[in-house]
């Protein structure tokens, strides 16, 4: 089965081409089925690969298609690498991808750009598979920017609305900033190791000493790329705006797959990262701070998708925190569980929006329990999973991260706990405001409230089951389980285990940590319950006065406005100044003035022709004298 790995990306590519090129001459139904069929096909192949990997002894397998770029000693081929890490990512991408394709058949039903939407989704899955399957950094980068392009197309899908286009452009450009760091990192890898294939790079990296400046620089540059793509602190502003795209897009791209590319990249280059502890601490700090920062913003947001977007940013912060403290498996585990429950939450929100006829403001919802029972049930499971209540998946993955964080540095654990408290609070706030209490929407909306069709609810149910049970693939020894995921991913991370020393906690401290975490969470949920369920408080509307702090948080700490003022405005001003003064008055005038200079000089010499014969003879004599004089001395 492994030899067929090239089929996995091929199916979505064919899907994209078929639908893309002939979209206007077949029915909506056909387009939807082709697209989802393609993803299903690649899901089955990746499932086969996964099973073969589980049983077979041979853990890594590369399949080379053809030679891509060769120039001097730099040569890179289009080649796919199958190993436990990439096969897990394959499963997540194609699995969640297929469910979302199924979901969007129903969700996008009455949209005129239906076929175009599915072609873009398939294009996205193709690039994401390329990113995950590549056996060298350049192919990963090709997938990296490809998903950036696909997200640009999908965010700006309803391109009539200029603010959606701005959001799409913003996403692309902020990603591009990160990608520049990523490219420079790749080039530095090539310069230091002479090749950019994972095998050669990690093989020769083992001999390098720890904290070597060049390796630290490489990892930092790659992390800049990860920050851009996975929306970490400085470069996260594009993700909340990316909610302008249709909800399945937000589910697939901005929750499950694309944003996790940065985490995958760090996991893939774990050898390099474990060779530079300084970068790891930076990653941990950025992760933790992002987790807390985004969670605080999430608390006061009133748009259902914005809340989920900020929660994604904060959950990604957790994954980077895991990577930072060396818990690579923990990071991947949380990535997997997060993919399930966040996709579930987004699709749930999608079905709510679908029912409410496009309304996204939770202050105008409420009491949807009666009208959308399946969505209510699945959304509840998702909310419990994300807040980390045992035995749901969120608990296991988040607990593992917090345990490793505590082992690395208790302060990180405190930040982690603060983040998860806020996560629990805003998730249940969202849940109660949408589903419990009385309906606050308009009569027209109330009349139209109906449960989503089966194509939308089946994926919800499947995802709910996954969100609930996914935790059991990584039950830690402490709780009597053998961490299946860790054993499965061992061959990928074994080198970094030799280099990186992570101290282990005694069982007692782990129990204590779990206990405190779960205890605090339950308190917070009860607090949220009575705040929004019992005396069902409604968040204030925009006009009435809010406390300064609340105002600050509600307006997302004005980060967008700050970036605009620091970067965008000065750049435009600079380009204006350059063009008006520097170019027209500066360089252009220099060139033109040389022209005028020549004309001016010729004007002065013109005056020599006085017309007086006497004057000419006089000049002749003078010049003869001068010539003779200079020749004779």
């Amino acid at each position: 089965m492994k030899e067929l790995v090239w089929l996995v990306p091929l199916f979505p590519l064919i899907g994209f081409l078929i639908i893309g090129l002939f979209k206007n001459n077949f029915s909506k139904k056909l387009a939807g089925t082709i697209a989802s069929g393609a993803i299903l096909a690649s899901f089955t192949v990746s499932l086969g690969i996964f099973i073969e990997l589980l049983s077979g002894a041979e853990k890594t397998f590369t399949y080379t298609l053809f030679d891509w770029i060769t120039s001097g000693d730099f040569s890179v081929a289009i080649a796919f690498l199958v190993d436990p890490l990439s096969s897990i990512m394959l499963l997540i991408i194609t699995g969640v991808g297929f469910l979302i394709h199924l979901y969007s058949i129903g969700y996008m039903h009455d949209d005129e750009g239906y076929a175009k939407f599915f072609s873009y989704l398939n294009l996205f899955v193709f690039f994401m598979l390329l990113l995950v399957l590549g056996n060298n950094y350049l192919l990963m980068f090709a997938g990296w920017e490809g998903v950036g392009l696909a997200s640009y197309l999908l965010i700006g899908f309803w391109f009539k609305n200029q603010s959606y286009n701005d959001a799409a452009k913003k996403a692309f450009i902020v990603n591009r900033i990160g990608d520049l760091g990523f490219v420079l990192g790749i080039i530095l890898i090539f310069i230091t190791f002479g090749s950019i294939n994972y095998a050669d790079v990690f093989g020769s990296a083992m001999s390098h000493p720890s904290n070597e400046p060049v390796i630290v620089l490489i990892t930092l540059l790659l992390f800049v790329g990860a920050m851009g793509k996975s929306a970490q602190i400085p470069l996260y502003t594009w993700l909340p705006d990316a909610m302008a795209g249709p909800t399945p897009v937000s589910a697939l791209i901005h929750a499950a797959t694309m944003v996790t590319a940065g985490v995958y990249m760090i996991a893939r280059s774990n050898v390099l990262y474990s060779l530079s502890p300084t970068t790891l601490t930076i990653v941990a700090i950025v992760g933790a701070v992002t987790a807390v920062f985004a969670a605080t913003i999430g608390i006061l947001q009133n748009d259902i998708k914005k809340v989920l977007a900020y929660s994604t940013v904060s959950q990604l912060g957790y994954m980077f925190l895991a990577m930072g403290v060396g818990a690579f498996t923990g990071g991947i585990f949380h990535l997997a569980t997060h993919a399930f429950f966040k996709a579930l939450l987004f699709l749930g929100a999608g079905s709510v929006i679908h029912a409410m006829g496009g309304e996204q403001d939770i202050r105008k919802m409420g009491g949807l329990k009666k009208y959308l029972p399946i969505t209510y049930m699945t959304f509840l499971i998702g909310t419990i999973a994300i807040s980390g209540i045992p035995p749901f998946s969120g608990f296991f993955s988040k607990d593992e991260i917090l345990a490793h964080a505590f082992a690395a540095n208790p302060l990180l654990w405190i930040l982690g706990i603060a983040g998860s408290i806020m996560t629990a609070f805003y998730m249940f706030r969202l849940f109660y405001l949408t589903f419990s209490g009385t309906f606050r929407g308009t009569e027209h909306q109330k009349h139209h409230l109906h449960e989503s069709p089966s194509t939308m609810t089946i994926p919800l149910i499947v995802l709910a089951v996954l969100a609930a049970l996914a935790g059991f693939i990584g039950v830690p020894e402490v709780l009597g389980g053998s961490h299946l995921l860790e054993h499965f991913l061992d061959p990928v991370f074994e080198d970094s285990k030799l280099i990186l020393f992570t101290n282990h906690l005694s069982h007692s401290t782990e129990y204590m940590l779990m206990g405190t975490a779960v205890g605090i969470l339950i308190l917070v949920i009860l607090f949220a319950r009575n705040k929004y369920f019992t005396n069902n408080e409604i968040p204030k509307s925009d006009e009435d006065k809010k406390s300064v702090f609340a105002n600050l948080v509600y307006n997302k700490y004005y980060v967008d406005e700050i970036y605009d003022a620091i970067i965008v405005k000065p750049l435009d001003f600079l380009s204006g100044v350059f063009f008006k003064f520097f170019e027209l008055k500066g360089i252009d005038s220099i060139v033109n003035s040389t022209g005028k200079l020549v004309i001016g000089l010729s004007d002065t010499f013109r005056r020599l022709q006085t017309g007086h014969v006497g004057f000419y003879i006089f000049m002749m004599v003078i010049s003869i004298v001068a010539i003779l004089f200079f020749n004779l001395i």
Partner: protein
């Protein structure tokens, strides 16, 4: 003996040349110029270039000076009132002329002062001159004839009365 003749003739020619330049009346300057030509002809004789001396007198004094006189008389230019250049200009002219003279003289200081020894004195005779003229210099000879022809045509054309321009 020839030295004295040379110095005498040299003195005469320089004096007359100065008079040509600084005499008020153009007629006087023409006559002084004729005198300089005669002194130069004398020099030729001293240098055994008899044929040349004769030709010189005939061509220069005879033809060109007569032409000058003729033009002067034709345009009755012998009026005293000739506009003068500004003194400053004259002064500058004299200075530059002097400068020119000094540079010529300066160029001489390098060469040793060898006496002018006539290798074969009879080259000045007409026979030898004729031989050289028609052997080596045949082509320039022909071209100078064309030159003279064109000068004549030019002179005639230029000084024609513009009859047709008048109507």
């Amino acid at each position: 003996m020839t030295q004295y003749a040379f110095y005498f003739l040299a003195f005469v020619s320089i004096l007359c040349a100065l008079m040509v330049v600084f005499s008020k009346n153009p007629i006087h300057s023409v006559l002084y110029l004729v005198l300089t030509f005669f002194s130069i002809a004398g020099q030729y004789l001293l240098l055994n270039a008899q044929f040349l001396a004769v030709v010189h007198i005939v061509v220069y004094s005879g033809a060109i000076m007569v032409l000058f006189l003729f033009v002067l008389m034709l345009l009755n230019l012998n009026t005293e009132a000739e506009p003068q250049k500004s003194t400053w200009l004259k002064f500058a002219a004299v200075i530059s002329g002097g400068l020119l003279l000094i540079t010529f003289v300066a160029s001489l200081k390098g060469s040793e002062n060898m006496a002018l020894v006539q290798k074969n004195p009879e080259i000045g005779l007409t026979a030898n001159l004729g031989k050289i003229l028609f052997n080596e210099f045949a082509l320039p000879f022909e071209i100078s004839s064309i030159l003279l022809l064109s000068a004549m045509v030019g002179a005639v054309m230029l000084s024609q009365k513009e009859k047709e321009a008048k109507q």
